[in-house]
């Protein structure tokens, strides 16, 4: 067992993990953040996306021991008293169907907008390249991100 300290959604957790523990399993099973889901075994789908020290990463492709000392934001830590503008935009634009890809899509979109607050449609599609939607609802997902970009330009975060 190896000791790790990881801040998850603003709370510091000191834990013991086996080195082979994937960050996603640590988040779900040890911290209880079941909003982060697993969709594949090949690092392809992006359903498990979280923010690791502020940048998007696939939590199935990081060992918990590699995240020692880091700070993680999951979908559960995104909203304050109100929905995060990206979450609100997904609701408004029907950016989800079954919802399985949604946590990852939302966090990838947050990462994209933090770096490029005013993306074109092509830039949104490229920014979400690492996320697959098995319901294939890409059109409304792209619309949601475009709407979120607009609302966030008003200075709201």
């Amino acid at each position: 067992m190896t000791k790790v300290s990881i801040t998850v959604d603003g709370v510091l957790h000191e834990s013991e993990v086996e080195p082979r523990t994937l960050l996603v399993h640590y988040l779900r099973e040890q911290v209880g953040k079941v909003g982060t889901v697993v969709g594949c075994d090949t690092s392809s789908c992006g359903a498990c996306t979280i923010l690791l020290d502020g940048r998007s990463a696939k939590s199935c492709s990081v060992l918990a021991v590699q995240a020692d000392g880091s700070s993680v934001t999951t979908i559960e830590g995104l909203a304050g008293d109100e929905w995060h503008p990206v979450q609100a935009a997904f609701k408004e634009c029907h950016g989800l169907q079954c919802g399985y890809c949604t946590p990852g899509m939302v966090l990838s979109a947050v990462d994209l907008l933090s770096e490029n607050p005013n993306p074109s449609e092509a830039e949104i599609r490229e920014g979400l390249e690492g996320n697959l939607c098995r319901c294939t609802g890409y059109h409304n997902i792209v619309k949601s991100v475009a709407l979120a970009a607009q609302t966030m330009k008003g200075g709201k975060k």
Binding site: P19, R20, D41, S43, R55, S56, C60, S61, L63, V65
Partner: protein
């Protein structure tokens, strides 16, 4: 799937990492970004006894301008590389090719050195270091050595990095005046992997190509230089039709295989077409 059991160490220096690899025996392995390693661990295609995490070793991070060359720490992420002003200004080919690797999440974690040491024939960055005549620094228990890119890639997933060695940094000479570069990649839209990729650097003087360096991705077990196209381009006028003619020998000396994305014949066709596109783009046509 859950990986099989292994031990994990996070050394602070290259020397400590080399010692840890040696102490771990033949099943010890370096992990950097883990973006190739984690899928292998999860599918249990790899079952190392010890993982030596090199992602936080200071000496292996950072990008330096040496005047006539640029040195990039092997543990620099794809993200660090493509957003570095030094790389964008002096090694634009690398910045452009890196931006086509995988997706944002993988670029945030995956490292330049990991992508080279992994030796995947479909990886984009091996062809770039081959085209730019880079030198790779490798550390082992017998000390450090410098290996030219042309001697670094040995076979499928096999490089000059030995079992108890670590790739520390990559030094890329700057191209002088008159050079243009381009990375052209033909891939299916469902994923970023190249069916065929071409890294081209072309020097133009007085409307003619005076020198060309071209390396191909996924056309053999290792990246290869298209030497016959390089010779054929010498003295050729900068025009689309002339470049297309000179690119007809792009498949010479390659050993393309057939896979789900393309059979051998189609892949060879792509080599000619994509080489012509990459050279035209590099020459500003």
């Amino acid at each position: 799937m859950i990986p099989s059991k292994f031990d994990y160490v996070r050394p602070k220096s290259v020397d400590e990492a080399v010692a840890a690899l040696k102490a771990g025996g033949e099943d010890s392995k370096v992990i950097a970004g883990g973006q190739s390693m984690l899928p292998l661990l999860r599918l249990r295609l790899a079952a190392p006894s010890v993982l030596v995490d090199c992602a936080r070793i200071d000496e292996m991070k950072g990008i330096k301008d040496n005047g006539d060359s640029v040195t990039i720490g092997a543990a620099s992420t794809h993200w660090d590389v493509m957003n570095s002003d030094i790389v964008k200004t002096h090694v634009k080919l690398l910045a452009d090719a890196t931006a086509t690797v995988a997706d944002p999440q993988i670029r945030h974690r995956g490292t330049f050195g990991g992508a080279l040491a992994h030796g995947d024939p479909a990886g984009d960055l091996p062809a770039v270091v081959l085209a730019l005549d880079a030198t790779l620094e490798i550390a082992g228990s017998k000390g450090r050595r410098q290996v030219a890119a042309k001697d670094f890639f040995l076979d499928y997933f096999t490089t000059a990095v030995g079992p108890d060695e670590i790739l520390v940094s990559i030094t890329i000479p700057k191209l002088g005046k008159g050079w243009g570069t381009c990375y052209e990649k033909f891939n299916r839209s469902a994923n970023g992997w190249a069916v065929v990729g071409v890294a081209a650097a072309v020097k133009v003087d007085g409307g003619k190509i005076t020198e060309a360096r071209i390396a191909l991705t996924n056309c053999a077990a290792i990246p290869v230089r298209a030497s016959s196209v390089e010779s054929a381009l010498k003295g050729v006028a900068v025009s689309a039709s002339e470049i297309e003619k000179a690119s007809q020998s792009a498949a010479d000396g390659t050993r393309a295989t057939s896979d789900l994305a393309a059979d051998k014949e189609y892949r060879e066709h792509l080599m000619r077409v994509i080489t012509a596109r990459a050279v035209s783009c590099a020459a500003g046509v």
